[in-house]
């Protein structure tokens, strides 16, 4: 074998010009001073492209130069008005001034071009990369350095309401694909120096900008470091969405449960940053990735917090019920029907038996058939064009359901059970978590078919044990419940009033826990309003704001 390999290695491959490699080879050598050589070099690398735009000009009417850019990426107006015009048409204030060639660059950058992002670069490798990112480069004959100016203009859609997480009460903005806009959406909600954005480039070909956002002094430092470490170890050709990152940084990739949360909502992201989490944004993806997560946040929505606490708690209880439904309802049905019909009230048991009279299969097979049909239907509805979707899904559900019952394929109660389950799984606000439970429904159903209620319990215990053993960036997955955390518990089953939760949840090990400030209210002294409503208003509370230094006596 080794002999063969050696031979193979000696065979010379035909040389293929790969632009990025060629550029890299040229990397360290500065560009030559001759304009023609520089243009030739660029043409060698990018000449095949229709949108390569090379415009030869004479700066101030005397120095030959060229502006080079990819016309598809840039804003032509900016290039014409702010760059080419002042270069070709000598501005008033430097008319008649002596313009020596060795100070030309300086003169152009500081006095001529009306653009804040004008910089000087030298290496061809770097210049090409900048060009590919939408900058215009100005080569000047006789000067090694070149000027590059950010003239990028990329079409982006406008900010719209998030499709996957809609709320009745609360902000309507959603992230879009452009990372700069997304960071702006966060920054405008957090005008504080604590809000930090670190960026890095991931992806050998896509060179996607990845931003790690957190609140310094609130997010746990070790978590931030861990996020950076895990991200920096990714080496892949393309990152097209945060989903790619998620799969690289999660703790247990084989678990059905999501260990990061992705959201389209800037307000949700900010709320999570404020709890001490870290958000990861990727250029080109309208989702932010939040870590570390715990299970209970998958059934929480921002709406819970923006509505009054009774409303929020009630809705949350309903959601938890839906979650439980979507996991075990069909298997409970199977085990009651086929193992312990004596548990049901007699009249109902008779009705069920009557409905099942014509069905040839055991309950578990029947439920599985309908479940699989439902899954297919659901997947199909997502793919269908909008115009057909609504009509077809109604046809699918109603007609197929009715027909299945009449054909003796399933009993009416099975259809009811499956419908409840499906609706239940849609009530879970997080798509990924709902998906996990949807998948786990099947093994439990099979267990229920074999062992009845005992099987359901075994399945549920197994799932819970797995969830209890999961960790997301060092935080136990079931955190406020077990290991117990009294602050966090106030926000699990019900959504306690905001003034009951003066501290951030402890399980995120935030370095600053104070949420509410101690704020005596003067206006309505007879009435307890605002922060005064909380139980230990007299002794608790934070000093100052989120600031860690704790000695500033703002109150």
């Amino acid at each position: 074998m080794s002999l063969f390999r050696k031979k193979k290695r000696n065979v010379k491959k035909p040389q293929l010009l790969i632009p990025s490699k060629a550029a890299e080879e040229k990397g360290d050598t500065p560009t030559s001073s001759s304009l023609m050589v520089k243009i030739k070099e660029v043409k060698e690398l990018l000449g095949n492209n229709e949108d390569l735009q090379i415009k030869q000009i004479k700066i101030f009417g005397q120095f030959p130069a060229a502006s080079v850019c990819l016309s598809s990426l840039i804003n032509q107006d900016v290039l014409n008005q702010d760059i080419l015009k002042p270069l070709m048409y000598v501005p008033e204030h430097i008319k008649g001034k002596e313009k020596p060639i060795n100070e030309l660059i300086n003169l152009i950058v500081t006095e001529t071009v009306y653009h804040s992002q004008a910089k000087v670069g030298e290496n061809m490798d770097q210049l090409i990369e900048l060009m590919l990112r939408g900058e215009s480069v100005i080569f000047i004959d006789g000067i090694k350095e070149s000027i590059h100016i950010d003239t990028r203009k990329i079409e982006k859609r406008s900010i719209a309401q998030p499709e996957t997480e809609q709320v009745i009460l609360g902000p309507r903005e959603g992230f879009i694909e452009s990372i700069l806009t997304n960071i702006a959406l966060l920054r405008y909600r957090l005008p504080t120096p604590e809000f930090q954005v670190k960026t890095m480039k991931i992806g050998r070909l896509t060179k996607s900008t990845v931003a790690i956002c957190y609140l310094k002094g609130i997010a746990n430092e070790t978590v931030i470091e861990e996020v950076e470490k895990r991200l920096s170890e990714i080496n892949i050709d393309a990152i097209l969405d945060v989903g790619y990152l998620e799969q690289f940084i999660e703790d247990n990739p084989f678990s059905p449960f999501p260990q990061t949360q992705s959201t389209e909502r800037p307000d949700k992201t900010v709320a999570n940053l404020l709890e001490g989490r870290v958000a990861i944004l990727v250029d080109g993806s309208p989702f932010s990735l939040l870590v570390p997560v715990v299970f209970n946040q998958f059934y929480q929505t921002t709406e819970d917090y923006s509505s009054r606490f009774l409303m929020g708690s009630f809705v949350r209880l309903a959601r938890i019920l839906a979650l439980v439904f979507s996991l075990i309802f069909p298997s409970l049905y199977v085990s009651l029907i086929s193992f312990n019909p004596e548990l049901l009230p007699t009249e109902f048991a008779v009705a069920v038996a009557g409905g099942r009279a014509g069905v040839p299969y055991p309950a578990v097979i029947e439920v599985l058939i309908i479940e699989v049909a439902m899954e297919i239907l659901r997947e199909a509805t997502v793919r269908l064009p909008k115009q057909v979707g609504g009509a077809l899904s109604i046809v699918g559900v109603l007609v197929i359901g009715q027909a299945a019952v009449e054909a003796g394929l399933s009993s009416p109660i099975t259809v009811v059970v499956i419908a409840l389950t499906t609706i239940g799984s849609f009530a879970t606000p997080t798509y990924t978590a709902a998906f996990a439970l949807r998948m786990l429904r099947f093994p439990i159903m099979i267990l229920a078919g074999i062992f009845g209620l005992y099987g359901v319990m075994i399945g549920v215990i197994f799932i819970f044990n797995h969830m209890l053993s999961l960790k997301s960036f060092g935080v136990p997955y079931m955190a406020p419940v077990s290991p117990e955390d009294s602050q966090g518990m106030k926000d699990v089953v019900i959504r306690s009033p905001l003034w009951w939760m003066p501290k951030r949840p402890q399980f995120l090990r935030s370095s600053n826990n104070d949420r509410l400030g101690l704020n005596d209210n003067k206006v309505l002294e007879h009435n307890k309003v605002g922060n005064d409503q909380r139980e230990d208003a007299a002794n608790g509370g934070s000093k100052g704001d989120y600031n860690n230094s704790s000695d500033d006596d703002l109150n």
């Binding site: 193992f339 312990n340 004596e342 548990l343 049901l344 009230p345 007699t346 062992f451 009845g452 209620l453 005992y454 359901v456 319990m457 075994i458 215990i461 197994f462 819970f464 044990n465 209890l468 053993s469 136990p476 079931m478 419940v481 077990s482 290991p483 117990e484």
Partner: protein
């Protein structure tokens, strides 16, 4: 010991509660009534006291050696080899305890719910569940216990609360001395044998955040689990009366059967009770299984216990299949339980005395030298 010490006092308490409350609850009233007739609650109470003494001794020992479990500190106290020999006894006892718990539960399931399923299948499923869960570290172990405790306590309390309307207080008299003392003493031993799971405290103490609070945790642990046991005995005796209980294998299950939920949502409660009871049995089994492999790991000074988890599965299963029928099984359980008290109470007491003597002598030596 790579795991951080994160077990809180509450977690230690909940571990104790969920470990103690196990399959033993089902036949408990029968054991108590056989020994004490109408004074079954009194027998239970004395049994709880005996178990509490054993638990406190263990907790105290653990606090004196906060970095070690009984497997390791026994080697310090009575010498390497003697300590190891006793440790083997302890491990073997817990191996048997695990298998008996699995078997007992399997028997309940097979007679109560799944009449056509072979006993072996129900037992192996339960054991598999425990052995897979045992592959986690001790922190996850405590999270699991902590999570399930409310779900273990709730069904018992609900059943007791709903059934009390049929209670007849006359069944509970005479409170003391319903039977001869010998019988009551034997019953006391049997009842306190049901608390043997509390031995797990010795494994937890080294991983506790503050081992000083082990005594507090064990106090609350025994108070809550003991209170629940006492409640069950009082409720069953007050409802069925001693004579009837003697005819029933699992009086607690019978108690659940007689209770009806208002509104007739479900016709029978006993099956739901049993289903939720799977949790209680699982946590007990999980504890003794975990204790067995954790101790084996410490005895052989291995780095990791994960491998052992599957390794001892066949042994446990084999032991679980040894009893020929339910009667035989309960004979063995009572016998093993009482013999086990030697290991779970006498052995720690013996260790504690020697430990005291040693530290006293050391103190004297120091005094002499100065």
């Amino acid at each position: 010991m790579g795991d951080p010490k994160e077990i809180t006092t509450i977690q230690a308490t909940t571990i104790l509660i969920s470990t103690i409350i196990g399959v033993g609850v089902l036949p408990l009233p029968l054991f108590a009534v056989r020994a004490g007739e109408t004074s079954a609650p009194f027998v239970t109470l004395t049994g709880i006291f005996l178990a509490a003494v054993g638990l406190f001794i263990l907790a105290y020992l653990g606090m004196r050696h906060p970095q070690k479990t009984i497997i390791t500190y026994s080697q310090d106290i009575i010498g390497k080899w003697l300590g190891r020999i006793f440790s083997i006894f302890v491990i073997a006892f817990f191996l048997i305890l695990t298998s008996l718990a699995a078997r007992e539960f399997g028997a309940v399931v097979v007679t109560g719910v799944l009449r056509e399923t072979p006993l072996e299948v129900t037992v192996i499923v339960m054991l598999l569940l425990a052995s897979i869960s045992c592959r986690n570290n001790i922190n996850v172990f405590s999270y699991i216990h902590n999570f399930y405790v409310p779900m273990i306590l709730a069904p018992v309390l609900i059943v007791v609360a709903f059934s009390l309307k049929n209670a007849n207080l006359l069944y509970l008299r005479p409170i003391f001395l319903g039977n001869d003392l010998r019988g009551m003493a034997a019953g006391m031993l049997t009842v306190s044998a049901l608390f043997q799971g509390s031995f797990i405290i010795t494994m937890i103490i080294p991983s506790m955040k503050s081992p000083k609070k082990a005594l507090k945790a064990s106090f609350w642990g025994i108070l809550i689990s003991g209170g629940l046991y006492l409640l069950i005995v009082i409720a069953t005796v007050a409802i069925f009366g001693p004579e009837e209980i003697k005819q029933i294998f699992w009086p607690t299950l019978e108690l659940a059967r007689t209770t009806a939920v208002p509104g007739n949502i479900l016709q029978r409660l006993d099956i739901i009770f049993l289903a939720v009871w799977v949790l209680a049995v699982f946590t007990t089994l999980f504890s003794s299984y975990y204790f067995t492999i954790h101790s084996l790991k410490e005895l052989f000074q291995l780095k990791d216990h994960k491998m052992l988890s599957y390794f001892i599965l066949p042994f446990v299963f084999f032991l679980a299949m040894l009893p020929q029928n339910i009667l035989h099984m309960y004979e063995i359980i009572q016998y093993i339980g009482r013999a086990g008290l030697l290991i779970t109470i006498m052995y720690p007491a013996f260790l504690l005395i020697i430990d005291f003597l040693r530290s006293w002598r050391r103190g004297e030596n120091v005094a002499k030298q100065t």
